[in-house]
């Protein structure tokens, strides 16, 4: 290869201004740009077609006028929005409290399950029994048992149904989160523990400074995903009586014989979940990037 024809295919990649894109590559750039415009146009077209089809299918259905009246009544939506929002405030507070409590409980149970030594056998057994039973038990049943069973004991200082229902949610979700944390703990390679122990760190110190920080980082995406699920399951507390967004909507539905309040509550729940879902996606993406960058 002579020096004269080299720049055409292998341009010198120097930092100074003398670098110029070769004709071959200039052609590739033009081609790629054309392809990009084409794909955007295609995407727009197919979206428009599908949207129109769906719109025609729904609004053209024989029952559409009645459905619109009983599900999308703007007047009723406006009338019940304040009470539903007030109920939603309970959901938000409950979500925050339950999320913090369930994450703490899950982490605690996961760590207890990793303890070794005969002294800890009962603790380990209890923790294992707990994750086994509460992952199998439907949340609704736990809420009923807590909210109606515990007050039935007529003990002094029984907390309100809201607290009892919240406790039921925490205990059920704690069992799931414990398993997620445990998977994270087990995913940390034993050589990390060996390195920590070789430096003189105790088992507890190795867990706290070496294993848990890595484990939590790794399982952050699934943990957040479970928090999104928790966000909507918090609404199940309405079964026990407290007036949350779903309960408030239900009252509206009963009064108006119209389902619009449910739709309003549904939209509000989605809006509430959006930021959490966005955070989950961002954390997952970041974790994936870090994984790809190598250890």
């Amino acid at each position: 290869m002579t020096p004269s024809n080299r720049p055409a295919h292998h341009p010198e990649r120097t930092e100074d201004q003398s670098y110029r894109v070769s004709t071959v590559h200039a052609e590739r750039i033009v081609y790629r740009r054309r392809q990009a415009i084409r794909s955007v146009l295609l995407a727009a077209l197919s979206t428009a077609v599908l949207g129109t089809l769906l719109g025609v299918l729904v609004t053209g259905a024989p029952g559409w006028p009645r459905v619109r009246q009983s599900f999308f009544d703007l007047g009723i939506a406006r009338k019940y929005l304040p009470s539903i929002l007030e109920g939603l405030w309970l959901n938000i507070r409950l979500l925050l409290a339950c999320a913090v409590a369930a994450l703490t409980l899950g982490l605690l149970i996961a760590v207890l399950r990793t303890l070794r030594g005969p002294v800890f056998f009962p603790v380990r057994a209890l923790a294992t029994g707990y994750t086994y039973s509460f992952r199998g038990l439907p949340l609704i049943i736990v809420i009923y048992l807590f909210a109606f069973g515990i007050p039935g004991l007529r003990l002094q200082g029984t907390p309100s149904v809201t607290v009892l229902g919240g406790a039921a949610i925490v205990i059920t979700y704690g069992a799931y989160l414990a398993e997620v944390f445990r998977a994270g703990i087990e995913s940390v390679h034993p050589s990390q523990v060996a390195a920590a122990r070789s430096l003189g760190l105790s088992y507890r110190q190795a867990m706290r400074f070496v294993v848990l920080p890595q484990a939590v980082r790794r399982v952050a995406p699934p943990l957040l995903n479970d928090t999104v699920a928790l966000q909507k399951d918090v609404g199940l507390i309405s079964l026990a009586g407290p007036i949350d967004a779903i309960r408030a909507a239900q009252i509206g539905v009963a009064q108006e014989a119209n389902f619009t309040p449910y739709v309003v509550a549904g939209v509000l729940f989605v809006l509430l979940a959006l930021p959490l879902i966005a955070i989950t996606d961002w954390v997952t993406l970041r974790a994936a990037r870090r994984q790809n960058a190598g250890t």
């Binding site: 050589s191 990390q192 060996a194 390195a195 920590a196 122990r197 070789s198 430096l199 003189g200 760190l201 105790s202 110190q205 400074f209 070496v210 920080p213 890595q214 980082r217 960058a293 190598g294 250890t295």
Partner: protein, 246 residues
């Protein structure tokens, strides 16, 4: 005598990895363990550091029986440094935090003092500008040098090195070996499992050839590597020469 292993046995299931092994190491002595893969070099180092429990025999450090189940392994490990083939730096911590973790948390030294000492060490091994980096930003040779510093800041009586250059690209081996050579110059007692026969010859006061879980032959490097007595040592060295590693 700093370290003495007497009649050490370790079996994993039916495979006996260490079989009535005897090995003594004096203070300031550097002993190189050589031998084929599976001859028990790594297992011996892990037993000395109590990461693996022996099935029989006694290991003494400064005369204290460290294989006694009543001994506190955390306290004993504080006197022994171990460097792994795969570095095992903590990926979620910066280089500096990796090094100061044990001094601060185990030896309860003030954070500022531990930091100063760590930076001093990093400067000595030419990694001062990497103090704030995470391990994944470092080359293998740099990671291994950090791992050695991490073991050294605890001022161990004994440093165990488990094939510390085996995972490195050939051009990075030199920087790690130079560091070990410097440590020998300072009188650090070391036991190193290695495949680098040339290095064992240079740095070791004594070479011990492990075969089937025993020390089959040991002596000055020139004798063991140049004029071995045992037939199996000769076979092993012949294979090494064939592979171009001597």
């Amino acid at each position: 005598m700093l370290l003495s292993c007497t009649g050490v046995r370790k079996a994993f299931g039916s495979s006996v990895v260490l079989d009535n092994l005897h090995l003594d190491v004096d203070e300031h002595e550097v002993v190189a363990l050589i031998g084929a893969s599976g001859s028990g070099k790594s297992t011996l180092l892990r037993c000395v550091n109590l990461l693996t429990e022996v099935d029989d025999g006694v290991i003494r450090l400064d005369g204290e029986d460290i294989t006694d189940p009543r001994a506190d392994p955390d306290r004993i490990r504080q006197r022994i440094g171990l460097v792994f083939q795969s570095y095992n730096l903590f990926p979620h911590m910066t280089v500096l935090d990796n090094i100061t973790l044990a001094p601060v948390r185990v030896h309860r030294r003030p954070a500022a003092e531990a930091r100063e000492q760590a930076l001093g060490w990093l400067g000595r091994v030419g990694l001062a500008e990497k103090a704030g980096s995470y391990p994944d930003r470092l080359s293998g040779g740099q990671q291994q040098r950090v791992a050695i510093v991490r073991a050294l800041v605890n001022s161990p009586r004994l440093l165990l090195l488990d094939e510390v250059t085996s995972a490195l690209d050939p051009e990075l081996v030199g920087e790690v070996l130079t560091m070990i050579r410097d440590l020998k110059g300072e009188g650090m007692t070391m036991v190193l499992a290695t495949h680098e026969m040339g290095f064992a010859r240079q740095v070791a006061d004594r070479v011990a050839f492990l075969d089937r879980g025993r020390v089959l032959e040991q002596g000055p490097p020139t004798q063991v590597l140049g004029d071995p007595v045992e037939a199996r040592t000769r076979q092993f060295l012949a294979r090494i020469i064939e592979a171009g590693r001597l």
